[in-house]
Amino acid sequence: MGTQKSKASPPAGGRADTKQKLPERFRDYRHVWVFLELERGQVHPVSFELLGEGRRLADQLGVQLAGVILGPPGDSTQHAVSEAFAYDADLVYLVEKPLLTDYRNEPFTKALTDLVNNYKPEILLLGATTLGRDLAGSVATTLLTGLTADCTGLDVDADGSLAATRPTFGGSLLCTIYTLNCRPQMATVRPRVMRMPQRSNKPIGRVIRHDLRMLEDEIVTKVVDFLSDGQSENANLAYADVVVAGGLGLGAVENLQLLKNLAQTIGGDYGCSRPLVQKGWLAADRQIGQTGKTIRPRLYIAAGISGAVQHRVGVEGADLIVAINTDPNAPIFDFANVGVVADAISFLPALTDVFIKRLAPRNPMRLLN
């Protein structure tokens, strides 16, 4: 949503008084924190996207960017620490405890609120994943501070307040929300809404370790099992570089094959609009949009999709949007870059053929290097 951000920032000086009203006890809250989500040993990519955003906010405020890592002692947590620096954190707050192995609300809430109360950040960002939303709600309530969910734009106001922009009323409007008189200012952001920043090979910097004073016996909830989705073939849609999607315009479930053929030809993934999920043509994790996945591919091809606002908010981050639709007035042509008024059923196979021809290794030498 890069285009929106600059325009979304509110007129400077509009709230210059708020900061002065900030209660004494919050005046020394400084720095931007990003919570790094460890998902069974792996850092969730949304954490890196947030580090990118956090860096920008910290630079604007002239403060430091810190990563917060809660996890079990071991390699994966250490790896997360080095990744935080690779994505440009200035320092890392680390709580390493065996009881932080699997996510549970109680120890994570305590660890994070303790850290905040001790080290006083002014902004705290989390991913809007099931983990991030579970944790953020508890932490914000414990700290009695404001939390803005599912933001699509973050900015710093003239007086240094966080201006968090998010969709409202089913995506048809955006609103900008401030947290008054409370710190930290908390926000969650959905995966893929923000751009993935460049990774560098920055060495590990300052790590501040903190202890969590809690015993396993004090924790009511136990994880007795974890049923992994497995290496689901669908896991990559949000992160695919090329996405091809179909809507009701495809007409029949058989025509999904045309979509899959094209996706396979260009090494992309495929998705759909919500009605196809409702019809049972594709699984729910193939749905793109407000109540589905947000995608940010370099190329997005939409066939037979009208471009309703709920779909649009999920694809606006794409670099290039191509729309194929029989209706020249379809709303999707209002935000696509390239449009073709054509019948998807006959056009998709032709497009697949052309790609096959164009992408064929003309020069056999290519195979050698």
Binding site: R133, A140, V224, F347, F355
Partner: protein, 294 residues
């Protein structure tokens, strides 16, 4: 004899928080003024909350006990409660007070948690509080966790299934949706559950339920009646977040560059499209071909 039994075995009490929301599918933004056109937009029970209600009714039907539905909203939110009664809920509480206007999630969860405490005093302490996963208007998924924290309840979010409840041992096992899989969690009552959507078919209440719903008195509480003393935690005053600006999204791009299709074969049009794609994204051509040949 039966009296003895009920003395010994307290029945389960479940509270379900539901919200009345405008049917977002029917919301329109005025093309000129960019304001929401509310006229005639029907209100519905937040669809996610129906799954919470259904799960609560299932638990009640199995273990015995009562389901109380609770909403905070304007007087007309009574319609949503009455509908919940039609599905089979036993009691409905409407928390309504103009001092609640402008509540954000923190203030909402404060008011609801106070009301739940009051429900506990008046009708029996709840063993489970259910909320929906999120609302379709606020869309924050924060109110549930907020209530849990304030009432010091165990918090079980994104629950896809209640695997078992051992009421006498006060134990509960649930399946919780998390990134990349499902956690099986064992925990204790009382707890707060935010229920995932699509977990069960929503029932239709019987004639008896419908008649009872039509006749039920809905319990209406203002702030004081709900036992809320500290009004600084309610409404606008109790809300740390404020909405400063509402605006329409700026168009992402100018209107799409249309590829002219007149008098061309499908193949030619496709050819032109691919050229256009690679002109916009030169790097893509190389990467796609190398990934294809790999």
């Amino acid at each position: 004899m039966t009296n003895m039994r009920s003395e010994l075995k307290r029945l389960m009490h479940i509270v379900v928080c539901i919200k009345q929301v405008p049917d977002s599918a029917q919301i329109r933004v005025h093309p000129v003024t960019n304001t929401i056109m509310r006229q005639g937009v029907p209100t519905i029970i937040n669809p996610y909350d129906l799954f919470a209600l259904e799960e609560a009714l299932k638990v009640r039907d199995y273990h015995g006990g009562e389901v109380t539905v609770l909403t905070m909203g304007p007087p007309m939110a009574e319609d949503a409660l009455r509908k919940a009664l039609t599905y089979g809920a036993d009691r409905a509480v409407l928390l309504t007070d103009r001092h609640f206007a402008g509540s954000d999630t923190l203030a909402t969860s404060f008011a609801l948690s106070q009301a739940i405490a009051q429900i506990g005093k008046s009708f029996g302490t709840p063993d489970i509080v259910f909320t929906g996963k999120q609302t379709i208007d606020g869309d924050t998924a924060q109110v549930g966790p907020g209530i849990a924290k304030r009432l010091n309840l165990v918090q079980l979010t994104y629950v896809a299934k209640i695997a078992s409840i051992d009421f006498s041992a006060r134990k509960i096992t649930v399946e919780r949706r998390s990134e990349g899989g499902t956690q099986v969690l064992e925990s204790k009552l009382p707890c707060l559950i935010t229920m995932l959507e699509g977990t069960a078919a929503i029932r239709r209440g019987s004639l008896e339920d419908a008649l009872r719903a039509a006749r039920s008195e809905i319990v209406k509480w203002n702030a004081a009646e709900a036992g809320i003393e500290d009004m600084t935690k309610c409404g606008l005053r109790g809300s740390p977040t404020v909405v400063k600006r509402v605006f329409a999204p700026t168009p992402r791009a100018e209107k799409a560059a249309q590829i002219d299709t007149t008098e061309k074969t499908v193949r030619d049009v496709a050819d032109e499209l691919v050229t256009s794609i690679f002109t916009h994204q030169p790097a893509l051509e190389h990467e796609l071909s190398s990934s294809r040949s790999a």
